[in-house]
């Protein structure tokens, strides 16, 4: 309240070790959540959690990037950095949601897709592209919530949605501020300057029309405050679902197309 929060401060909040993760939201937003595993191609990557639960009594499919809450869990979940198999599991669950006409709710919270040997051998780029392609044409409503760090294609892979909600102190960017600084200034220590330049806060993204709604957060971390945020998310989810469930499958796809079609900044040249 006293001091204005900078974009770099927000980066640190979004990455904070005690920041709530996808499973914390899932536990409080959905009833009867059941996690479903595996890509049916030989793997079960744990950086993305998928499953079915009920939201206000309606079955929904949940696809969520999950950071670990303990060191042990972080190792298991590869610090929330998906390998291609996570996206393939997500794609399987998207198709299943379509078959059973369930809305899809996705949660973004990742430093990015994992840049490893295995990931490249197993087509990280293809997996991300296919995940976006699948969401682009899916015949059910898709709502995306950016809850923590949303970095690069690894985040966007599950972000091609009809509605994008974003927590006030989450970030969403093309690359980490460190990565940005090392590309632009050849100096990753200029991360603070980068963060303040990159337009990665919820406010910036609303101004750029990349997201639809900001979910207000509380300054202090407490159980009560978390439940206030949950209530605000519920309110927005209600509104979004009500609006989207009126649309036909064709209209839903068109809605998504129009949303992303408009994004771009360029100036019209004078025609001579």
């Amino acid at each position: 309240m006293t001091k204005k929060i900078s974009s770099w401060d927000i980066v640190n909040i979004a990455r904070g070790p005690y920041r709530k993760t996808s499973l914390d939201y899932i536990d409080n937003l959905f009833e009867d959540f059941i996690e479903l595993h595996g890509d049916r191609l030989g793997y079960d990557d744990k950086a993305i959690v998928c499953g079915i639960g009920k939201y206000n009594g309606i079955p929904v499919t949940i696809i969520a990037e999950q950071k670990g809450r303990t060191t042990q869990e972080n190792i298991e979940r590869n610090f929330g950095m998906p390998n291609p198999e996570s996206y393939r599991k997500a794609i399987r669950l998207m198709r299943q949601a379509e078959k059973f006409n369930r809305p899809i709710i996705t949660f973004i919270d990742t430093k990015g897709a994992y840049p490893g040997l295995h990931a490249e051998e197993h087509g990280q780029g293809e997996a991300i592209a296919k995940s976006m392609l699948t969401l682009a044409n899916i015949k059910v409503p898709v709502i995306n919530i950016v809850i923590g760090e949303g970095s690069s294609g690894g985040a966007l892979a599950i972000g091609v949605a009809n509605k994008i909600l974003m927590l006030e102190y989450a970030i969403y960017s093309i690359i980490s501020p460190e990565g940005f600084a090392s590309i632009i200034w050849k100096d990753s220590s200029k991360k603070e300057k980068a963060a303040n330049k990159m337009k990665l806060t919820s406010k910036d993204l609303l101004n750029l029309n990349v997201i639809d709604t900001i979910i207000k957060e509380e300054k202090e971390d407490s159980d009560d405050n978390f439940m206030k945020v949950i209530a605000r998310i519920k309110k927005e989810l209600d509104l979004s679902l009500e609006e989207l469930m009126k649309l036909s499958p064709k209209e839903l796809c068109y809605h998504r197309y129009e949303k992303f079609r408009k994004i771009g900044t360029y100036k019209k040249e004078k025609v001579n």
Partner: protein, 287 residues
């Protein structure tokens, strides 16, 4: 994020009016085998080293000549210009330098042309300009090309050569991945043919969007293709990468491309593929 280690490769010519018929200087050195190449021989061999078969990167104009029938190309002109959404002075300066270096306004050339008499929509990305990175203007041209291909029910050919999304335009560049992918999704629904050609280098946000979504994916021999750049991976895993990592041959072995086609056989192969798709597709999806 991928660019540093990919940059090293050289271009045969970076003259403003680059043209395969008018070489600049008589000799050049192959960056791979270090042999000195006599330029006329080199031009005849389609900018390929006659000693070691190294494929030099070529400009979009040269690429167009290798694929499209002479005199049939009509360029898309959208009259849009790259802006500086993050207000980075470094971006302004770099854009200016890239424009002077290449004589291009952006890293792309797209339009309608014929390939052995088959009308197609073609979009080419030029790694000569800003490492072919995808910002708003490139994203718009690619999306427009996909939409024109839908509107005119023509096969779509996209030839990629890109370091990935353009960092300097921030999140808006990232969103071009979603925008182009949504357009490809629509293209799929129409039952139209999309041939994606991957050339050196294809990385990052381009690999992770339209470039990986062709009905048929072709690569030139020895091209570097991947998602994360080799340096980033090396840093992450803390060890040397195996030889041949992220080459076209690696991608073929791992099942991510359909075939590798030599530069001189590219036009004939694409022609055959288009002809094999004639009379198919274009499913009526009314209702």
């Amino acid at each position: 994020m991928t660019i540093e280690s990919i940059k090293k490769r050289e271009y045969p010519s970076s003259n403003k009016k680059s043209n395969i018929d008018i070489p600049k200087g008589k000799w050049l050195k192959c960056p791979k085998c270090k042999e000195i190449i006599y330029r006329p021989t080199f031009v005849k061999s389609l900018n390929i080293c006659p000693y070691c078969n190294y494929y030099f990167r070529i400009t979009c104009k040269d690429r167009l000549k290798l694929i499209i029938d002479d005199g049939t190309f009509k360029e898309f002109k959208l009259n849009i210009e790259t802006t500086n959404p993050l207000e980075l002075s470094e971006y302004e300066a770099k854009l200016k330098k890239e424009k002077e270096k290449t004589g291009l306004d952006e890293a792309t050339l797209s339009g309608i042309g014929k390939i052995n008499d088959n009308k197609v929509v073609i979009a080419i990305i030029d790694s000569n300009f800003f490492m072919g990175s995808m910002g708003s203007v490139l994203g718009e041209y690619v999306t427009f090309s996909i939409e024109e291909s839908i509107k005119r029910k023509l096969p779509l050919i996209i030839i990629s050569a890109s370091g990935g999304a353009r960092m300097q335009e921030g999140i808006i560049s990232l969103m071009q991945m979603a925008k182009t992918t949504c357009a490809i999704a629509k293209h799929n629904e129409e039952g139209l043919l999309y041939i994606s050609v991957l050339t050196d280098p294809t990385y990052g946000g381009v690999t992770a969007s339209f470039a990986s979504l062709g009905d048929i994916i072709i690569a030139e021999p020895g091209a570097m293709i991947g998602f994360a750049g080799p340096n980033v991976i090396k840093q992450t895993i803390g060890e040397e990468l195996p030889p041949g990592f992220q080459t076209s041959e690696f991608q073929l072995k791992h099942g991510f491309i359909d075939l590798i086609v030599k530069r001189k056989e590219m036009k004939e192969t694409i022609t055959k593929l288009i002809e094999l798709h004639k009379g198919s597709g274009i499913i009526d999806k009314k209702n």
